[in-house]
Symmetry: C2
Subunit: 725 residues, 2 copies
């Protein structure tokens, strides 16, 4: 076992506690549980989130409901509770084994009265049985004999940072088992969870059937010669999976009672091994790159919906409260390349999520007076827009700030089409494209065509009053990214229509009839797409981000070195919108997405213009990976590496200070892209794939696999094998 | 015991459940507990509120935090839980004895398997020992023998309608005792609560020391010959009362362990008897008047801060979540007359609350650019403005409505001065007036003088852009009520300054120096007050409510008979502001407050103009009592009675449908006034008091006591003794 497979946190630092909880999250794509302590600890944000288990809230409409904690263990040595902040903490190590998907924690602890013990916790969410989680507790007394009590309970009043989403429907406590049945208060999603304990035969179990808090209290005499060992197998099922979740859980508990903790773990590890066989990236280097790569892949793997096409991955995965589990373009543009290349079934599920939510997108288009399907900027259970319109101001929570992204950050619809197209190119999944891709692409194109605004003076179509990727500038006209994506999307729709007319003629007749699409219409779309205005370029090829951007004041960001806040926070929201400072890549991102379409010197000119104007440190976490990718593409190896490390350290070392809210999902998806598309230089084109490696100077080797058209491929690039063209 | 001392609710009606919880609230002026069931019941809003225990929240700034439930009892017959919705409910009666302050509930219940028992619950909050509450449970098996388990617990995750305000700091469970220590998350108010159980000697008690949920499980064999009896004595102390609440509670539990439930109840009932001796109103009539009177007084008595001058009574008393425990003018104008006349010590506490919050009022004035002290429209812990500026729209919660009352409903400052003046007139408490009244009155006057706006064209002072009592009309200029109150307040300040210069010359020198007040300034105040514009009157004396009111469209409310919503809801907020429909008395209220200053025919003309334009049914609950009072004053006995009954039935019978949110505190204060000042016609003038009775035709007698200048007075009026002048 190489240390690059493990995240190890030594000691206890209250300041870093919430960051640690996030990065040590475990999961199996069905649920994720933050790496909080099993015992209560003030200030920790204990949470288990399950895909699709949303409940309604004010202002932000909906959020993933933190389900009752399945890991809670209350430990008593006589009349002293185990709390690392009381008594003496001799040593503590938390260790996340990403290869096996197991989090363990070893504590060398002495109570106030001097009882010392080594306490070891382990937990995993089974990759082999999605409804199964398991936990083990071992207590090795060092210098005392006496009674240990351990209470294992479910808390029916689980809350989201103080807000309770649950009603308790029922519970059972008997022998060594406990079952809790809760239901979300507004959306009526049932969650049933059961536990079965394995104890020393000498231990006794008290049944504390307190309403809302079913608990089992294990009592055992211990000594240095007599270790306490408790295993807890937990099954969790929702009404999304079963018509009778309580019955299902009851059966599952029975089923797993005959299997040991080790057997269950072995099954899970076997699946993890298959996953890593497909997904791992090996990097030979002396830096943290290998750890960063595996950390990023690990967090994508625990959040991936392996067998659910009704959910997608939120902007903070399932690892924290940030963005309330809402789904953004982060999924399609940042995470989907990973899945399309290495886990195409998951990519198919994520894209199907959008397909199943076309009704919400149609509703949004209709409410706004447009045709077709306009996907929401933030999406959750229903597929309707769930972006909050007002949020508390970051500096003064008594003031409200109007959030416009849900109204006018419209490029998301084209981003989804882009992801669909990439998935299809890589996988060759024609059936999916015909059945689910085409409706999304065509109805999205209908939206774009109806959204175009004719400028009679200039004889061109414009798209006014939008927000592009760079959210520092809102209410802008003709954002190049948006206009280009709209144009590309409409043209894609036309070519895919032509493709489908050949691929599945009967299907096309039905689909085109349903959508009222015919040859003449497609011709008119093509003419309109040709007339979409793409903003002016400078003589050297630098393209204006949006109308009027070049006239805005320029600010030298080097004057703000050492700052600890974003430029938007320093200038204020309104002033920041008037200067040439970007929250994240905008034109640079466009150049990356369509890097084959732009001459390299144009890409370079735009990179050189916009990158120094971008708030890489405290702007969007979506930015660094994109800049790394473009820097690689134009041969700026050092900058590519610098941006890669910035992205890689964001979550691992919390350099933005907000990882307590959850993993930056777009960033980790972007990190995978920087390695595969950037440093290894993998390119898919019309005839297949090839690589143009741009390894950082001190890296020796990158090796990984992917699937192309259903066939497993291997890429291994070294310094010698690199080209620098 | 007369039935007019009791509120009795028979059977179980889920629709009326939340209303019943509110009206059956018990309390002792330190805390109140809603009349929810001891066992869990979905949909009930279990709550105990304590004066001054606020915690911060978004949008509405602060709210009273529901403390951990001290009444929770989980009852098990073998493996069957006691829930009235499972099994068979043969009979249920809830009975609030307002004379003794005891709520009891008797349930004849049969489990699904056929075990039948009579279960009787009783609870009270001790009027004799503010930190003490007590509960008793008796279970009489009818047709079975077996084991009964009863779990008594505190829940450290108590929530306010889903929002948790508490962190658990510690707990103890041993023998027959349990203690829980919690702290509000934002304001760091500690609450410690302890229970000690009294059980049958044959019963056993299991200690379930589950973190956050300390519980005692009582197990006993029962039979028709062997009744189960459990008593629970509870002590609750906050860090507002003790530097070590846990220690205090621990001592108190010890102290009361030697006293029986009956002894504790007897002490409490003795105090209740003294209270009723002073506060009761006897009404001889065949209608519900006697019950309405006692119900209103009871709810004032349980919410009255008897020994705390740092708190006031919120608009929903301590009986529900409505208005989040915020304090409005409801206290000073509607409730304070009751306290000033019958419990002057409480009145002094309530007025002292405002005195101690002058800093908040000064801050508000300063923030708005004014002098002196401007009291907040909604007040809570700090005395700063806590009116939410935006709230969800009643018809579409995704839309926000701007609430302007915190910005411009400014008459509150004069309302407080009015209450102070009345308190002083009735009690003759010169020391209080000099020490605490004068600063409030003078600094309030400083606010008013700085708030006046000079209209050079008309050569007069105006007060523009306000909301008067009638909140249907906002952003109005020269609201007569506000202008008149401002003028009266400034003149009161001048006369009280003159009074104090004589009463306490040295004190006056210090106070006037601190406030920079001298003779010349007072003269200028007098001149300014004289020049305040009081809007035009029609030839018959009808005064315009605000500038432009007479030009607004008139709407015949009789066309909207049978409606179930307010006129504001029917027309919408903006349209309702453009028509002559009032949410509540405005000019009519002014006439009542200064009834000695207006000729009776002017009062009558204004009543006849405005009353038919007022939404008596679904407008403000503050309105009916005021209309009853003015109707009495002008001899409209039937209308006076009709409005009295409308006010009286509002809470008792939930005719507005929102009593689940709490008692309408202004309405019950107004009801007391309708009887004492309206029907009995009590008047205080410069030389003393006298009565001008206007008894409803079918009432035989009203009898009550009050204190005038410290002396107990008795009023008894009958039909014969009435005058109709």
């Amino acid at each position: 076992m190489n240390s690059s497979w493990e995240i190890v946190v030594n000691g206890f630092d209250r300041e870093k506690m919430n960051h640690t909880e996030t990065i040590l999250t475990i999961g199996n794509g069905y649920l994720c549980t933050r790496g909080s302590f099993a015992e209560k600890m003030e200030g920790q944000n204990v949470a288990t989130f399950m895909h699709g288990v949303y409940d309604d809230i004010p202002v932000s409409f909906t959020e993933l409901a933190n389900i009752p904690n399945w890991t809670a263990l209350q430990i008593e040595f006589g009349d002293e509770s185990f709390r690392i902040t009381e008594g003496k903490l001799h040593n503590m190590e938390q260790r996340l084994d990403m290869h096996a998907g197991v989090l363990s924690r070893t504590v060398d602890f002495e109570t106030s009265s001097g009882k010392r013990a080594i306490i070891r916790f382990s937990r995993f969410a089974s990759m082999a049985q999605r409804y199964l989680c398991a936990q083990k507790l071992e207590i090795q007394p060092i210098n005392f004999s006496g009674t240990v009590k351990v209470v294992a309970s479910f808390d029916g009043q689980a809350d989201n940072l103080g807000l309770i989403h649950w009603n308790v429907c029922g519970q059972v406590v008997e022998a060594n088992r406990a079952i809790l049945h809760v239901k979300t208060r507004k959306t009526n999603v049932d969650v049933a969870m059961g536990m079965i304990l394995g104890t020393d035969p000498e231990a006794t179990i008290e049944q504390w059937n307190l309403e809302g808090h079913p608990s089992l209290c294990v009592v055992q005499d211990v000594s240095p010669e007599r270790v306490f060992v408790l295993t807890k197998k937990v099954n969790i099922v929702t009404s999304r999976d079963s018509t009778d979740p309580v019955l299902s859980v009851n059966q599952m508990i029975g089923d797993c009672s005959g299997q040991s903790w080790e057997e269950l773990l072995t099954s899970s590890v076997a699946v993890w091994e298959r996953l890593w066989h497909d997904c791992d990236i090996e990097i030979d280097s002396e830096d943290d790159a290998q750890l960063i790569a595996r950390f990023s892949i690990y967090h994508l793997l625990i959040a991936a919906p392996y067998s659910d096409e009704q959910v997608s991955i939120g902007a903070k995965t399932l690892s924290g409260y940030g963005y309330r589990g809402h789904v953004f373009w982060d999924t399609e543009i940042f995470m989907l390349p990973f899945f399309s290349f290495v886990l195409p079934d998951v990519a198919s599920n994520l894209l199907s999520y959008r397909y199943h939510r076309l009704a919400g997108a149609r509703k949004k288009a209709q409410l706004n007076g447009f045709d077709g399907a306009q996907f929401p900027w933030e999406s959750a259970g229903t597929g309707e827009e769930v972006t909050p319109t007002w949020v508390p101001h970051f500096a003064d929570p008594t003031k409200l700030v109007r959030i416009w992204t849900g109204d006018i950050q419209i490029h998301i619809t084209a981003d989804i089409a882009y992801a669909l197209h990439m998935y299809w190119k890589v996988t060759g999944d024609d059936a999916f494209m015909a059945k689910r891709g085409l409706p999304i692409i065509l109805e999205g194109a209908q939206f774009w065509v109806s959204r175009l605004e004719w400028n009679a003076t200039e004889s061109r179509y414009e798209i006014r009053d939008v927000i592009g990727p760079d959210e520092n500038h809102d209410h802008v006209d003709n954002n190049t990214f948006t206009n280009f994506m709209a144009q590309w999307h409409i043209r894609l729709a036309i070519s895919m229509a032509q493709w489908m007319a050949v691929y599945d003629h009967e299907g096309w007749k039905r689909l085109s009839a349903r959508l009222n699409i015919n040859e003449q219409l497609l011709t008119s779309w093509s003419e309109k797409a040709d007339m979409i205005y793409i903003p002016q370029a400078l003589p050297n090829g630098v393209i204006e981000q949006c109308s009027g951007f070049f006239e805005m004041e320029q600010v030298d960001l080097s004057h703000y070195a050492g700052r600890t806040r974003s430029i938007q926070e320093i200038f204020g929201i309104e002033e920041a919108a008037k200067i040439q400072v970007l929250k994240q890549a905008d034109i640079v991102m466009l150049m990356y997405l369509f890097r084959e379409l732009f001459p390299k010197d144009v890409i370079q000119a735009n990179y050189d213009y916009y990158s120094p104007k971008t708030d890489h440190e405290f702007g969007s976490s979506l930015g660094p990976a994109m800049h790394s990718l473009v820097a690689s593409w134009i041969g700026r190896k050092e900058e590519a590496y610098e941006h890669f490390m910035r992205a890689g350290q964001a979550d691992l070392f919390d350099i933005r200070g907000n990882v307590g809210d959850g993993i930056h999902a777009a960033s980790i998806g972007g990190i995978w892209q920087t390695i595969v598309f950037g440093f290894a230089g993998l390119i898919i084109d019309e005839i297949g794939w090839n690589v143009h490696p741009k390894l950082p100077g001190h890296w020796k080797r990158i090796s990984f696999h992917f699937y192309y058209q259903g066939q497993r491929q291997h890429v291994e690039v070294t310094q010698e094998g690199g080209t620098d063209d």
